[in-house]
């Protein structure tokens, strides 16, 4: 996700999507970039879970998906589940090899 956020064009795309959803064509307008280039950025954002898309006729409409970002910074929740799993694994390990 941080890799997806590292690129200024992708941050600008997210910033536009923060206000409302857009199709690829509309997203290209403020950037001096071709549609395939913007589509490539959207693919990276989509793989990072930062945007989602839906089909509308022949166009794909993109919108922001805030949940992964929220989760990424929710370290306590992340580590609570990580350590719970690991402590379970420790118990299994001790049982297997007492």
């Amino acid at each position: 996700m941080f890799r997806a956020l590292a690129d200024p064009t992708r941050r600008a795309i997210l910033d536009r999507l923060r206000r409302r959803e857009h199709g690829v064509g509309a997203l290209c307008e403020p950037f001096a970039m071709t549609q395939p280039a913007i589509s490539q950025h959207l693919r990276v954002l989509s793989e990072a879970g930062l945007v989602r898309s839906r089909r509308q006729g022949r166009e794909r409409i993109y919108s922001i998906s805030p949940r992964p970002l929220r989760q990424a910074f929710d370290w306590l929740a992340h580590f609570e589940s990580f350590w719970t799993d690991r402590l379970d694994a420790l118990g299994d390990h001790l049982d297997d090899d007492p």
């Binding site: 956020l5 970002l69 370290w75 580590f79 719970t84 420790l90």
Partner: protein, 144 residues
């Protein structure tokens, strides 16, 4: 705002056995993550997991506390890579207490309090000031 994590478990195994699982690198590699840990104060080591975007899968650690048979603590740092500022700089401590025939394990993971400052500096450097002003504070507050 909750900033520290504390979990407790009781295992039916004696403290000496649990201590070995916590301090032998081969045992640690089996139940926690692949590691080159040594039970030596000041020893620097890593835990290695599968990389994911934004994290190279490596946790950089240093033994900061060692009381054989009872307590081991290490600094626990991670982030996008070795040459980038860490997004996580915390402390993990395991404490063992005898409990009948078995062992109570207390796990503490602390130091999340400084995270806001670290995140803010990282996000600032990445130039995403607008996101920082709008979304990030809400996200951090929601973390309690």
């Amino acid at each position: 705002m909750k900033r520290d994590l504390r979990l407790e478990r009781v295992y039916p195994h004696p403290p000496a056995r649990v201590w070995r699982a916590l301090t032998d690198r081969h045992e640690l590699s089996k139940w926690l993550m692949e590691t080159d840990f040594e039970p030596v104060l000041g020893h620097r080591f890593t835990f290695r997991a599968k990389p994911v975007p934004g994290w190279d899968g490596v946790t950089y650690c240093e033994v900061t506390e060692l009381e054989p048979g009872r307590c081991v603590a290490y600094r626990w740092r991670g982030g996008p890579g070795p040459d980038r500022p860490p997004t996580l700089d915390t402390l993990v401590r395991f404490t063992l207490e005898p409990e009948g025939e078995g062992t109570r394990v207390i796990l503490e993971h602390r130091g999340f309090s400084g995270l806001r400052a670290v995140l803010v500096s990282v996000m600032m450097r990445s130039g995403w000031a607008k996101m920082l002003r709008t979304k990030l504070p809400a996200v951090l507050d929601a973390t309690r």
